[in-house]
């Protein structure tokens, strides 16, 4: 009697085996060339459909005389460009400040040296 396997445990074992087998089989499947091809084409298809939907929605919004996504993006791009320029101007200002500090320090050093020699 005790040699008979517990049906629940047996079911669990069969399930685990099936799960492991399925995982391994699907991993083999996705590593095949054909899967790569399907994935590449599917990505393009999804993209094309999404683009159509997005363009259509944008057209509707713009025809309602409301700023659409494209307009908002365009404004955000201008802001980004301005921020780029500002960052570079700030860097230039900081560089000039460093230069000024260095030259002031060297001038002060020279003056100090002069005082020392005149004593």
């Amino acid at each position: 009697m005790s040699d008979r396997p517990d049906p629940a445990a047996e079911m669990q074992r069969l399930y685990d085996e099936a799960e492991r087998g399925t995982a391994a089989a699907l991993e083999r499947l996705v590593s095949r060339d054909a899967f790569g091809e399907v994935l590449a084409k599917s990505a393009e298809n999804v993209l094309a459909v999404q683009k159509l939907g997005s363009d259509l929605a944008d057209m509707v919004v713009r025809n309602l005389r409301i700023a659409g996504r494209r307009d908002v993006t365009s404004l955000a791009r201008q802001l980004a460009r301005t921020e780029d320029k500002l960052e570079r101007v700030l860097q230039e200002v900081e560089r000039l400040q460093d230069e000024l500090r260095a030259s002031q320090a060297s001038q002060n050093g020279a003056k100090q040296d002069k005082r020392v020699t005149s004593q």
Binding site: D33, L39, K51, R77
Partner: protein, 349 residues
């Protein structure tokens, strides 16, 4: 718990399970207090607050362009940042933010030649040091390696590269996106910002049963047994589901350079007319690989060890996956202390 007990518990477990899944987005991640040091466009440099900085050299963390850097600071009690702060490091984080369509012009050169060096400059300024350590993870590791190769005598003294893709030949990802029929130019042209969830689906397809079934089945099992670690599951699931868009130019360049042309290990990559040759790497180098990493397979990182000219090169090879290695429950005992120890002897003023 026997079958009858499991059956009796199932209705309560089902409610609990649904609650864990439905509220995972509310899980707090990246909660260690930090201050904004500098921002530029979507990039933000943070400095974590600490009262026990004992190592003079600051450490700048750089994560990938996909997913958010909160993985460095997943949840209280299981946070790499928290660990580093406890170890006395001055920790900074360069967060690429959430790019959108207006950032379509951001290419790899913008990240490697602008954002990263500017973040480094601000880190040095805030810490008052002249050198620092850089720690990059995944794409972040590749960006750090590119920067290190371009600026071998720059302020970066130590480079720590975690599960970093270098040579992609033979990888599954390359067999998908490296093939000619995967038209990355078409994608980048149509999508100014490649949606993060799309990239996430592709990443998860590498191990479909694990990602789409076993994760949830295991959670159900743990809930039923009363052993589910709610906070741990929710924090990780919340982070996994947070996928920022990939700026189209950077996406096109990343796929082309890394997977279609595999330019990084051969030194043929050029950024701003400068050759990115990993043989120029002279910094102290720590490379960490994960044996079960299917996103940046171990074999694809190893060439870096031979390429780098650094005199001080260390390689930690550990069990675990691409993310689990650093963010799993055993990371705190198994890899974080080793990284901290490696940094410690190289972080004096």
């Amino acid at each position: 718990m026997n079958r009858l007990e499991q059956l009796a518990r199932a209705p309560v477990a089902a409610v609990d399970y649904a609650n864990i899944i439905l509220t995972q987005g509310d899980a707090p991640v990246g909660t260690t207090p930090k201050d904004v040091v500098w921002t530029h466009r979507k990039t933000t440099l943070y400095r974590y607050r600490s009262t026990r900085r004992t190592h003079p050299l600051p450490l700048l963390l750089v994560f990938a362009l996909i997913n958010r850097p909160a993985i460095f600071d997943l949840r209280p009690g299981n946070s790499f940042v928290e660990f580093l702060l406890d170890e006395g490091y001055d920790v900074f984080l360069l967060d690429w933010g959430v790019p959108d369509e207006e950032d379509a012009d951001m290419g790899l050169e913008n990240y490697v030649c602008d954002e990263l060096p500017w973040g480094i400059r601000e880190t040095l300024r805030a810490s008052g040091q002249e050198e620092l350590s850089l720690l990059g993870w995944c794409i972040g590791g590749a960006l750090v390696a590119m920067y290190g190769a371009l600026e071998p005598s720059g302020p970066a003294r130590n480079l720590v590269l975690l599960t970093t893709p270098v040579d992609t030949s033979g990888s599954l990802y390359r067999s998908w996106v490296g093939r000619e029929s995967f038209d990355v130019d078409y994608i980048a042209e149509k999508l100014p910002a490649v949606p993060g969830p799309g990239i996430d689906v592709v990443n998860k397809m590498m191990k479909p049963v694990q990602n789409y079934w076993i994760t949830y089945r295991q959670l159900w099992h743990n809930v039923l047994e009363g052993t589910a670690r709610r906070e741990a599951y929710q924090a990780m699931a919340s982070w996994v589901a947070d996928n920022p868009p990939f700026p189209s130019r950077a996406y096109r360049e990343w796929i082309t350079v890394m997977y279609k042309q595999n330019k990084l290990p051969t030194g043929r990559l050029r950024l701003r007319d400068r050759r990115v040759d990993l043989r120029n790497l002279e910094q102290n180098l720590l490379v960490v690989t994960a044996g079960a990493d299917h996103i940046a397979p171990r074999d694809g990182t190893l060439p870096l060890l031979d390429l780098a000219s650094s005199e001080d090169v260390t390689h930690f090879d550990r069990k675990g996956g691409h993310i689990g290695l650093m963010a799993g429950s055993r990371a705190k005992q198994e890899i974080w202390p080793d990284i901290a120890e490696w940094l410690e002897s190289r972080s004096s003023a």
